[in-house]
């Protein structure tokens, strides 16, 4: 438990954490939930909950980065959200896919189709595989961070991500074959 003397320093650190990871928490929430409105609520709840438990989490982290802990809070809240509302996550491509480089019309259409196929494929994966892919590719987390966020070993996480990518690869191949027929 933090003493009163530590409080200003704790608040300073929490403000830094908030600034550094607001986008991570929002991106994760958005890809888990699939709409901006509920992703905003989830992000808000994540930070309010994080604030309440920050002193303990900091003490228990032994100096390790706190991003996995934050994402774990969002992960648990998202699980509650889906359990309460019995919803499957949906990702609205038109909002999520931001093509940053100027492209020709044909190339944009092609890229959009690819992105749509990937997001459809990811949406059909088992929950743990989908979550690991979101953490890896939307947030750029490494195996160690993902392992901490999911409460698994690093080895198990590496296998999980490998299997998720293989499964997605197969799905995309199947989809391509159906389209070609």
């Amino acid at each position: 438990m933090a003493t009163a003397v530590d409080k200003p320093q704790l608040d300073l650190e929490f403000a830094e954490l908030y600034r550094a990871h607001l986008r991570d928490v929002y991106s994760y929430s958005y890809y888990r939930i699939g709409n901006h409105h509920d992703a905003e609520d989830l992000t808000e709840q994540t930070f309010l909950q994080a604030y309440r438990h920050f002193a303990r989490a900091r003490a228990e982290s032994n100096g390790r980065p706190l991003r996995p802990w934050l994402i774990r809070i969002a992960h648990n809240l998202a699980a509650n959200y889906h359990r309460d509302r019995s919803r499957r996550p949906q990702t609205h491509l038109e909002d999520a896919a931001i093509l940053t480089e100027p492209l020709g019309t044909e190339q944009i259409v092609e890229e959009r189709e690819e992105v749509e196929a990937v997001l459809r494929g990811v949406a059909g994966l088992p929950d743990d595989r989908r979550e690991a892919l979101i953490m890896r590719f939307a947030l750029g987390m490494d195996n160690r961070e993902i392992a901490r966020a999911l409460g698994r070993s690093e080895g198990a996480t590496k296998v999980l991500i490998h299997r998720a990518i293989r499964q997605l690869e197969e799905r995309l191949k199947e989809e391509e074959e159906v389209t070609d027929e």
Partner: protein
């Protein structure tokens, strides 16, 4: 990086939080602070003699402790918006200033 990994990289672009979210989050934290401050402002020392009110006072203190920090966070963000010309040092000074102010208010 495999082709599928490249596709995943393209599909999962980070999503910027809307401005309305940060405004709402800051408002929530400020509300928490205000509620706790009102609770403590109404504090009557005589209430300590009534054990039935101890739980309520303890809860108010707990909320104030949390919310005090929340206010610091909120003010830090407000100062952060204004800090463009002053850099990180100004933000840190601002935080210390606000936290000092909070400590004075809490110990009054």
């Amino acid at each position: 990086m495999s082709e599928v990994e490249r596709l995943l990289q393209n599909a999962f672009v980070p999503v910027e939080p809307p401005g309305a979210l940060t405004e709402r989050l800051e408002r929530r934290l400020t509300e928490l602070t205000d509620a706790a401050m009102h609770e403590l402002a109404d504090f009557d020392p005589g209430a300590l003699r009534d054990p039935r009110r101890w739980a309520r006072l303890a809860a108010a203190g707990l909320v104030a402790g949390t919310a005090g920090g929340a206010l610091i966070l909120v003010r830090a963000r407000q100062k952060h918006r204004r800090r463009e010309a002053h850099g990180l040092r100004a933000l840190q000074n601002g935080l210390r200033e606000v936290s000092g102010d909070m400590r004075r208010r809490m110990t009054r």
